[in-house]
Symmetry: C2
Subunit: 221 residues, 2 copies
């Protein structure tokens, strides 16, 4: 581990959860040495990795001698408590609640339907082929983005970003989900509020540097 | 709305997300007037309810003239910030991160696989009958509980509850998931750490009063 890094991060280039943690680290000005775990080769189930992260999940963030911290939303809250500036949450009680609610709409309600273990189950027990798996992903991503669009377009707190004019945890969650949607050729024309917010995020260095296609292991563009 | 209630809570007796919010309200000594939304009659999609909660999701917590707050984990964090005692999170940074990580294991990774909209999709597009839907639920609930059992049994911070000897957000999430598992006759014999923690929770008034079968609309026992 490089002596000037704050953390080790067990990561994969493509996963939305890792994407979220990379953006948050960049925003907070924190440095992590990444350890590449190849999900396409099921390295997360190897004895070597399980010795480091017993749950076999990535991302796993390790600070000094503390046990690995898993679950992206727990990691985001941890980074927010560890380094105050710039904040990932607004300063007022109800604003914080709104940002966490939008984040949960995206991460809790949608992402868990999309991991490899669900694909495996549906292939074995639901007769899903690649086309059916594609349709399943499109269904949940599209309905999630449409639901969020209605919310953002109707609530006065929405600004240049999901909540006001500064990026928060909600924007991090949104960008990670939109990357996945765009990989499936879902466009954002019918969700213009989201499209504009994602564009504003992409213009920020912390978001741009975290783009999955710029990470180790990604296919070259 | 009764003048001495702190909130209105749009709720259904059975859902895990509502269950979590009820426990947290009880722990914090807060009172909510419940508004019953019958998911079995799809009342969450009625125009009357959508006028109150545009996303059509429950639970929705309403405080005075603020917009409805949705998403159980956002509600739990909101209640924790609003009323400090008793805390739902430990006081130390890494302890708070561990509790949020355990909570997310349960709520983020598992609950979203189980709602009615997923059942509907799998029935229409995956050929699922009742037996296949039962097997699907058992698969994700069992694997989630087994994964948490390994974690709790191996980590020194586990005590009478998921984290030390006081109940936290993690126990709230665990109890809500276990209720759902037990409704499917999944027993806890192979997850003894969880079994003991759930027993300790059930002995607390805040958890006991929040039991789904004691709520309006529940089948009589």
């Amino acid at each position: 581990m490089s002596t000037n890094a704050d953390f080790e991060l067990y990561a994969f280039w493509r996963t939305a959860a890792t994407h979220r943690v990379r953006i948050a680290l960049n925003m907070k000005g924190l440095l992590a040495n990444e350890r590449f775990v190849d999900l396409d080769k099921a390295e997360q189930t190897s004895p070597a990795f399980l010795a480091i992260s017993p749950a076999g999940v990535i991302p796993a963030l390790i600070e000094d001698s503390y046990p690995p911290l898993t679950q992206s939303m727990a990691i985001l809250e941890f980074l927010e408590e560890k380094v105050a500036d710039p904040p990932l949450l607004p300063s007022d009680l109800h604003g914080r609640a709104r940002v966490r609610s939008i984040s949960a709409m995206l991460v809790t309600d949608t992402n868990p339907l999309l991991p490899p273990r669900v694909k495996k189950y549906l292939t074995l027990h639901g007769g899903f082929d690649e086309a059916a798996w594609h349709a399943w992903q499109v269904q949940w991503l599209t309905s999630s983005l449409e639901s969020l669009e209605r919310r953002l377009a109707s609530e006065s707190q929405t600004g240049e970003f999901c909540h006001g004019d500064h990026p928060t945890m909600a924007d991090i969650c949104l960008v990670s989900l939109v990357f996945r949607a765009q990989a499936l050729q879902i466009d954002l024309d019918s969700t213009p509020t989201i499209r504009d917010i994602v564009k504003n995020c992409a213009a920020l260095d912390a978001f741009a540097r975290a783009h999955p296609l710029l990470q180790e292991g990604a296919p070259s563009r």
